[in-house]
Symmetry: C2
Subunit: 117 residues, 2 copies
């Protein structure tokens, strides 16, 4: 199953900033950035909030073009769209991630829950 | 009259990003950045939206610590808190302003309306 994503050219600055303006979503982005290139199972983020809220936050990130969600069976694999964001808004993601490194954000515990594939 | 402003240390990343995630507020910040150091009368931004909406947007920017509002009589003079933002989040404001330079944002017409002082 393919979920809808904006193309790189459809990524819009106010949308990206608005979506990043939330502690839970910033924590997700900071964690994805630390594991760059590795698609992460969305269950990795269940420490941050309830399943319903996580779905909501991941949809917001995907719709703004910040992350890519690949559906594999019942799993959702999440990656940061670093190349697209760096091309559209040079330096923005790096400065946000650096600032987020010092911010008091919720921690991603890293415990992986079994999700049926 | 002094309006409430967060201290530099009270400026919080998610709040700043959320507040910048709006085309009108981004346009205000971009314009303030282009006139750096010069306090601008808030009437300068009346092209962007109604007076009520402008008050709302300027309050959001002030409360997040992005701008400083000085009340002089019935006028409001607005400045960008560049030093505070650069110290708290190095590179962030520059990358946002650079990205905003290419974005399709509403233009600040630059017509000054007489406001009683």
């Amino acid at each position: 199953m393919t979920l809808p994503h904006p193309t790189a050219d459809q990524i819009i600055l106010p949308n990206v900033l608005a979506v990043l303006g939330d502690p839970t979503r910033l924590a997700i982005v900071r964690y994805l950035a630390s594991k760059e290139g590795v698609p992460l199972n969305c269950s990795r983020f269940l420490d941050l909030c309830s399943k319903t809220n996580l779905s909501y936050h991941l949809a917001k990130l995907r719709e703004a073009g910040v992350t890519r969600t690949e559906a594999v069976g019942t799993s959702r694999l999440i990656t940061l769209r670093r190349d697209d964001l760096d091309r559209r808004f040079p330096g923005l993601l790096d400065s946000v991630i650096a600032a987020a490194g010092d911010a008091s954000l919720p921690a991603v515990g890293g415990h992986e829950i079994e999700v049926r594939a």
